[in-house]
């Protein structure tokens, strides 16, 4: 490390000399010349990297107007470094200073980060509000689902109970339907159109209406809405089984 450091001094001197010689020339040309010089000098005591570093320092010195700005420009990208002198050459020196200040300041980054944080905060808030709102809706919907499920179950139960054979039999009896005393007869139609009666058809006889209309058999288990008003003429043809009591569940 000590050897190149010592060599630096010589290189700096050479670099400055080279720079002054090429003052006012285009960057490209300067670079070319610098490279050429580097090529010639490297043979002496400097490495190629050190040579390039010195060249860059010279360039920076050319561009920089104020000495305190130098460390920041060092951190800038190489492209910026190359294009800036061309742009800045076109504007007045004061404006040029301001523009340079704006471009090189930390403000954009800070503002950007703040905006990002702010945006994130707003997004988080809005999402959390939406979540809470949705959870309330979910709760409401859940309640609705439960209620509807219960309603469905009640209806299914009612249908099953009313659809069962004993219930149908009872209902038919209530409507005054009477089973025939014997099996039904059949009509056998021959190909020639002759019709034979097979079996003996027997007429179903309606039972005598009972003198006092029996009170409707209401089970305490049946919910109130299921209790039917008493039939005008109940026809208890058969002792049909009652609808199963719900309390027996």
């Amino acid at each position: 490390m000590t050897a190149p450091a010592r060599a630096n001094k010589a290189a700096a001197r050479t670099g400055t000399a080279g720079k002054t010689a090429n003052s006012g020339a285009a960057t490209g040309t300067r670079e070319d010349t610098a490279k050429k010089k580097t090529a010639t000098k490297t043979r002496g005591s400097r490495t190629a990297a050190a040579e390039r570093a010195y060249t860059r320092r010279e360039e920076r010195r050319d561009r920089a107007e104020t000495p305190e700005r130098r460390p920041r420009t060092q951190r800038s990208a190489a492209e910026q470094r190359q294009s800036r002198p061309l742009r800045l050459n076109a504007v007045r020196p004061k404006a040029r200073q301001l523009q340079a200040k704006v471009v090189t300041s930390r403000v954009p980054m800070v503002v950007g980060v703040m905006a990002l944080l702010g945006g994130g905060l707003v997004a988080t808030l809005s999402l959390s509000i939406a979540t809470v709102g949705n959870s309330y809706r979910l709760q409401e919907s859940g309640k609705q689902v439960t209620a509807l499920n219960e309603q469905r179950e009640t209806l299914v139960r009612e249908v099953s109970n009313m659809d069962s054979t004993p219930a149908l039999q009872r209902k038919a009896a209530e409507l005054g339907m009477v089973p025939p005393p014997g099996p039904p007869a059949h009509l056998l139609v021959h190909p020639d159109g002759r019709v034979d009666v097979i079996g003996q058809p027997q007429e179903a006889v309606a039972p005598k209406p009972p003198a006092p209309p029996a009170p409707p058999a209401t089970s305490p288990a049946v919910p109130p809405q299921q209790v039917r008003p008493p039939e005008p003429h109940p026809v208890p043809q058969r002792q049909a089984a009652t609808i199963p009591a719900v309390e027996g569940r």
Partner: protein, 618 residues
């Protein structure tokens, strides 16, 4: 690290700071203290987060989390057409803690006299419960419960969840408990097969107690799910949003039966009616599909309503599959099938049948007094001649007879799938004495269930192949897949030709021609040919340990229609009181059931009436 890093810097600046902060010793001590505090905190952190983390988090979870089960819905039973025979639903049991209610409400009242005191409040609650629950909970019942001097009391019967919610939301002092319920829309119809299930406090769910509900409990029950929620310490108040499902509940499978609920209703009613008229101790009936052996109806005269709170004491069993009996003349079909199969006799072979026959040391006579009569083999069946049957059985021989008995499925359970099935009793061949073979061909000295009896006739109806009867058709999994129960292997009993011959011969039993009457002419159905066999078997008199002369089993087995059998019906009346028409024969009951079957299943009429067969040569 920290100290080493700061030391050189501190050393260099010491002079400068000493002026401001005093002695360097103070600084060192301060730093030391801070470092010690940091190390202690770090150590504690390591202990809490590292070494004891698991134990502590487990302890915390134990304090906080409550594991509860999500009840699985119990599967339903349906009949062959999908009519629901049993299903589950949810209900709630309202309860109160009257003592606590009294103290708390009186306290409230003392604090703020505008609030009602306990008595007023209880009245208000009772009024509201009645208002919401309607007739299910009369106000008086609610009042009675609330004014009981106890710590816990149930209010009324089970109510719908919506009703319970309304009550508990308005009055937080009233609680509700989850209850699953089991409902049987058809009540006692098919209850002997289904059995019953009811709420079990111990298990916290509905469990099967009888019949298929019990034997298929595992299939029907499903698997309860698990739910974890965080609760405030010492209470069951769930912290909102902490409820999470660990395992979902898997509902139980539905079970589809081969029963036809309409037919079951009809058979059960007719059988009950008939048994009552006959004064029978009990009665059983079964209707099988002639070809598949599926049980369309399996009935007993006594049943129970599984919906009711108290079951029984009668009708809880299923004697149609659990109680064997001696079949009597119905068993003659074995001799007939064996004799025809082995070419010993033909249907029109004429046998000179004497009034009685002596087998070993036993003399067996016929049901009617006669001298030697020329009966055809068809006539022997049609008139149910014991003597004629034993004559043919002698020719068949005990070994071939025994073989036929086994092939007809006697002495072994059918495997129908109902709990407690009996296989009946057939004495082992090696234990047969001379009199055994005098009894077995005429249906005494062996026993069978009504299901086995119908099974024998199913073999005849199904071209000689006996298909063991089944009552469970399929299992419907929670995901909707239908898993049909495997169909049992058929057993070849006799050749198709023999089966046809025997079936045609059995038409003579219901024959009603002048001088050629069968024993079961009441079973005949206009428009259809019917085959069947009547039976009467003497019961054992427990006093003399001999066959009784007054108590009988009356049986009938037959098929409809005989020309193309669709159904086989087996009937049994246990000890009917003599004297009534119904006690004499079960043929009229067969007629009623066959008429209903023909109508319900729209069975085409037979091509013509059955030809008159000669039973007794004149």
């Amino acid at each position: 690290m920290v100290r080493r890093g700061t030391r050189p810097a501190a050393g260099r600046r010491r002079t400068a700071r000493t002026d401001v902060a005093g002695s360097s010793r103070r600084l060192v001590i301060g730093r030391l203290l801070l470092v010690i505090a940091l190390v202690l905190a770090g150590g504690r952190l390591l202990q809490v987060q590292g070494f004891e983390a698991q134990r502590l988090s487990a302890e915390a979870a134990k304090q906080r989390t409550t594991v509860s089960s999500i009840p699985a819905e119990r599967g339903s039973f349906t009949d062959r057409s999908g009519n629901v025979l049993a299903f589950s639903s949810e209900a709630r049991q309202l309860y109160a803690t009257p003592k606590r209610l009294t103290t708390e409400q009186n306290k409230e009242h003392a604090k703020d006299p505008s609030k009602p005191d306990a008595v007023q409040y209880k009245r208000e609650i009772a009024r509201y419960i009645h208002q919401v629950a309607g007739d299910r909970i009369p106000e008086q019942d609610a009042l009675k419960a609330l004014f009981t001097d106890t710590t816990y009391v149930k209010i009324g019967p089970l109510v719908d969840p919506a009703v319970a919610r309304k009550v508990t939301e308005k009055y937080s002092q009233i609680g509700e408990e989850y209850r699953a319920t089991r409902e049987y829309p058809a009540g006692p119809i098919g209850a002997n097969v289904l059995g019953g299930a009811r709420w079990s406090e111990d298990l916290g769910k509905v469990s099967g107690r009888l019949g298929l509900e019990s034997s298929l409990d595992k299939v029907l029950a499903g698997t309860d799910g698990k739910k974890v929620s965080d609760t405030a310490m010492g209470s069951d108040l769930v912290i909102p949003g902490t409820e999470r499902q660990v395992a979902p509940a898997v509902p139980g499978s539905d079970v589809e039966l081969t029963l036809d609920s309409d037919l079951q209703f009809m058979v059960q009613n007719k059988l009950t009616d008939y048994a009552r008229k006959a004064g029978a101790r009990s009665a059983s009936a079964v209707v099988l599909d002639a070809h598949t052996g599926e049980v369309y109806s399996l009935a007993n005269d006594k049943s129970f309503d599984p919906n009711s709170d108290s079951w029984g004491p009668e009708g809880l069993g299923n004697p149609a599959v659990t109680n064997p009996y001696e079949p009597g003349s119905v068993n003659k079909v074995i001799t007939a099938a064996g004799a025809i199969e082995n070419g010993i006799v033909k249907p029109d072979s004429v046998l000179q049948v004497p009034g009685s026959i002596k087998v070993a040391d036993r003399t067996v006579g016929d049901a009617w007094e006669h001298g030697t009569v020329p009966l055809t083999f068809t006539g022997i069946l049609g008139k149910s001649s014991n003597v004629g049957t034993l004559m043919v059985a002698q020719q068949l021989g005990p070994d071939r007879f025994n073989d036929m008995v086994r092939r007809f499925g006697l002495g072994q359970p059918t495997g129908i799938g109902l709990p407690g099935e009996s296989g009946g009793v057939v004495p082992p061949r090696k234990d047969w004495s001379g009199t055994t073979f005098a009894n077995l061909p005429i249906g005494q000295g062996l026993s069978m269930t009504v299901l086995q009896m119908a099974g024998m006739y199913q073999a005849i109806a199904n071209d000689g192949v006996r298909v063991p009867p089944r009552v469970i058709s399929a299992e419907i999994r929670p995901d909707g897949t239908r898993v049909p129960q495997p169909r049992p292997q058929g057993v070849r009993v006799v050749s198709p030709q023999t089966a046809h011959t025997v079936k045609d011969m059995l038409r003579a039993v219901v024959q009603d021609a002048p001088h050629q009457e069968g024993t079961g002419k009441d079973a005949a159905l206009a428009g259809y040919q019917i085959s069947g066999k009547t039976g009467t078997a003497q019961q054992i008199n427990p006093v003399c340990k001999c066959y009784s002369q007054s108590t009988y089993w009356i049986t009938f087995a037959g098929m409809v229609p005989a020309d193309n059998p669709r159904f086989v019906v087996g009937l049994m009346l246990d000890a009917p009181e003599s004297g009534t028409k119904e006690a004499h024969s079960a043929a009229p009951l067969f007629h009623d059931i066959a008429a209903y079957l023909a109508q319900r299943y729209q069975i085409p009429l037979s091509p013509g009436p059955a030809p008159v067969q000669t039973l007794q040569v004149r």
